[in-house]
């Protein structure tokens, strides 16, 4: 009898754990009305704010933190979340752990992944919006017509980084103006014994750029809207065609011989040394080049042009180091302080910030420092006319790059790549409760 009672007690305890466990600990209030924006110099003595950053963005706020602490007396603690950053943050937020602010990829899919409507503060009516360049104001950071992310630097653009000296030696005067001439240039260079394109199949993540830049025109035409509503699939001719083209170009031998094992570092070294002529990449690739060289050499050697089937159209892909989100923590005072920090960052503190980071300014009134390399200026110039990448426009971000890397290794056919991507996309869309899935 006693034993039976004990068993019953254990079961009851377990059941109560289960029942309490079935409510999501990461959920919060649903209030989305725009909040008041305190003046940037409001006194904040005794207020402590936590900012989550990744290993490659934890130094970004340095000048802002110093300036803001001095101005307001607030205490700001930048905490580095180890890589993979996005997974780490998502897991923490899912279990109820939240910072005041965090670096975050300001795209629809990534804002959805954070459950923005319940976890993030609305940044509607932010004071810096009027001073932001009109072309960049609404480029990203918005989900369901609500602004959740503050863009602090120019989003990355997928495009072609090339070695100017290799082009010169090959007698190329101007950069290709459309896809066909871009590929023809690759073939010509190969004929001259130069490796035209360099891809990093070993590190995998850049494999998706080759497919995405081919989709720029379709993206302008609403491709991702159709994919988001399940009216078009990755396996349909548009995206499948882009995957096939990429595979054919690799088979043709237009890429580096060690494409299966080449890494991010290898890619940078190959382009700098002129071992390869071009690489389709994003801004972080240029940071890699900066780590291996100095601005003067880079200005002399490395150029950038955007490419799409129809012409020089870039594909933008904001990343985690470009933007911040402010969390709903339930503490009104700290939430206001978070907004205050953002208005300082993109207001009074913005000049110091772009100088300290030597990055392109998003605001007409704040001048871009002269130390920014030419290639990065070309990247930022292409932003105005660029279109959104899969990450920016699709409601979910499937592991297309892993499947493409599998294709490079020979374990997946182009058709299997499209199918695996579509399956995963559908699964994610279904989990979000998207219509049509």
């Amino acid at each position: 009898m006693k034993k039976a009672l004990k068993v019953a007690a254990v079961l009851a305890t377990a059941a109560s754990f289960v029942l309490t466990g079935c409510s999501d600990p990461g959920s919060g209030s649903q209030n989305n009305s725009p909040a008041a924006w305190p003046a940037a110099d409001t006194d904040l003595k005794g207020t402590k704010l936590t900012v989550w950053a990744a290993q490659n963005s934890n130094k970004v706020p340095d000048s802002v933190v110093a300036g803001f602490e001095k101005l307001t007396g607030a205490e700001i603690n930048v905490v580095t979340i180890p890589d993979p950053y996005e997974q780490g943050v998502q897991t923490k937020v899912a279990t109820g752990d939240k910072p005041d602010l965090a670096f975050w990829q300001p795209t629809g899919s990534q804002l959805t992944a954070l459950n923005a409507t319940t976890n993030l503060q609305s940044l509607e009516g932010a004071p810096w919006l009027d001073s932001t360049k009109p072309a960049l104001k609404d480029i990203t950071g918005i989900l369901d017509k609500t602004r959740y992310a503050a863009l602090i630097s120019t989003p990355a653009v997928e495009g072609v980084y090339y070695n100017k000296e290799v082009f010169e030696k090959a007698g190329i005067k101007s950069v290709p103006a459309d896809w066909d001439s871009f590929i023809k240039l690759g073939r010509d260079l190969k004929g001259q014994g130069v490796t035209p394109f360099y891809e990093m199949g070993g590190d995998r993540w850049a494999t998706q750029w080759w497919v995405q830049v081919q989709l720029a025109d379709a993206a302008k035409d609403g491709l991702w809207d159709r994919v988001n509503t399940n009216k078009e699939k990755f396996t349909d001719p548009t995206i499948q065609g882009a995957i096939n083209t990429y595979n054919d170009l690799i088979k043709e031998g237009l890429f580096n011989e060690d494409i299966k094992t080449a890494t991010f570092e290898d890619q940078g070294a190959a382009l700098l040394s002129g071992k390869a002529a071009m690489a389709v990449q994003v801004n972080s690739f240029f940071s890699q080049l900066q780590a291996q060289s100095d601005t003067e050499t880079l200005n002399k050697k490395i150029g950038f042009f955007p490419i799409a089937p129809s012409g020089n159209v870039g594909t933008f892909i904001p990343d985690q180091s470009n933007a911040l989100v402010a969390f709903k923590t339930g503490d009104a005072k700290r939430e206001a302080a978070s907004r205050q920090l953002l208005s300082y960052w993109l207001g009074q503190g913005y000049g110091d910030f772009v100088t300290a980071q030597s990055t392109v300014s998003l605001q007409d009134a704040v001048k871009t420092p002269g130390t920014v390399p030419n290639a990065l200026l070309a990247v930022s110039d292409s932003l105005g006319t660029s279109v959104g990448s899969m990450q920016a426009e699709a409601i979910a971000n499937p592991d297309l790059y892993i499947f493409l890397a599998d294709m490079i290794q020979g374990t997946k056919t182009p058709e299997e790549v499209a199918k695996a991507t579509q399956d995963q996309f559908a699964e994610l869309a279904k989990a979000q409760g998207a219509a049509g899935f």
Binding site: G21, C22, Q90, N115, E427
Partner: protein, 310 residues
């Protein structure tokens, strides 16, 4: 019974019985178990229970609510080939690790069996990888095995040519390389257990064998190895079942690549969890749990049967 016993005998037997009863109660009161049990319940039983429950929900990072969806997650999982592929890779990996780790451990134990000063030092050296962080081991090997890494450098120096073998870039053989790394890390533990096993073998038996003219090899095959059965049970079971739960070494060396050829179930789970599909990831870990359980019981039973000769 008591009739034929003297009174003294009866008292003694009673004393022993009392002592046993008292000892059983006083030396190890049951409530001593509570702290350990509490930790086990909170950190193991309840999570395992949750594992069973969340697998049937639509828990994700995208929504605040969690609803039951029945066996939906299982259906989707089994319909996509990825899960079966990951299970296959996991099994191959586990078998490779079990074989290598035990082979290396046994060879080391036999080589270092005698208690000399040198042997003691070498045993410690081989045990150090066991206490090292698995991720650190993985990253070190990843650097060593790169096409331009140290291993190729050494091979190039010996052969006098430029060697650039991508050890971690082959869709067929990389899983063997990674299993070797895993086994290298853990072989010290197997060695230690085999050493302990060898020490328990009675010298008389070995001397008898020697007197009968048995060679070293015959002694090992006919006497020592069969008598090592308990150590084999422990080593094979922990190596096989432990590596089915493998993650760290593979994540650090290949991240599941190249071409998904080393994508263990745990790496697949990690990737799915990172996508925000918490319920699907939980379903997969339930599948892994069941796979390990299905494998563990018959295996351990079989290995225990070998011990019957003792």
């Amino acid at each position: 019974m008591t009739a034929v016993m003297s009174r003294q005998d009866v008292v003694r037997v009673e004393d022993i019985r009392k002592a046993k009863r008292r000892g059983g109660k006083n030396d190890h009161p049951l409530w001593f178990l509570i702290p350990a049990l509490a930790v086990l319940v909170v950190f193991f039983f309840i999570p395992t229970l949750f594992n069973f429950i969340y697998a049937f929900t639509n828990w994700s990072s995208f929504k605040s609510s969690i609803g039951f969806v029945g066996v939906d997650n299982f259906v989707t999982l089994f319909n996509s080939g990825t899960l079966l592929n990951a299970l296959r890779v996991t099994l191959i990996y586990a078998v490779l690790v079990a074989v290598f780790q035990n082979l290396f451990g046994l060879i080391l134990a036999l080589l270092l069996e005698r208690d000399t000063r040198v042997n003691r030092a070498v045993r410690v050296a081989f045990f150090i990888p066991v206490i090292m962080s698995a991720l650190a081991v993985g990253y070190i090997f990843q650097a060593l095995l790169k096409p331009e890494g140290a291993l190729n450098g050494i091979l190039g120096f010996i052969t006098g040519t430029d060697v650039t073998i991508p050890w971690l870039g082959d869709t067929t053989w990389t899983i063997v390389v990674v299993a070797l790394v895993h086994s290298w890390k853990w072989m010290g533990l197997s060695m230690l257990i085999y050493l302990a096993g060898l020490k328990t073998i009675n010298d008389d038996v070995l001397e008898a064998a020697r007197l009968d003219g048995a060679s070293w090899w015959t002694t090992l095959r006919e006497i020592r190895f069969p008598l090592l059965a308990p150590a084999v049970t422990f080593n094979v079971a922990t190596a096989l079942l432990g590596s089915m739960n493998g993650f760290d070494v593979v994540q650090a060396t290949t991240e599941g690549g190249p071409g998904g050829s080393t994508e263990l179930l745990n790496i697949f789970i990690f990737r799915t969890f990172g996508q925000g599909l918490f319920a699907q990831a939980t379903t997969m870990s339930l599948v892994l749990f069941l796979a390990v359980a299905v494998l563990a019981f018959p295996l351990i039973k079989m290995l225990r049967k070998r011990e019957d000769v003792l």
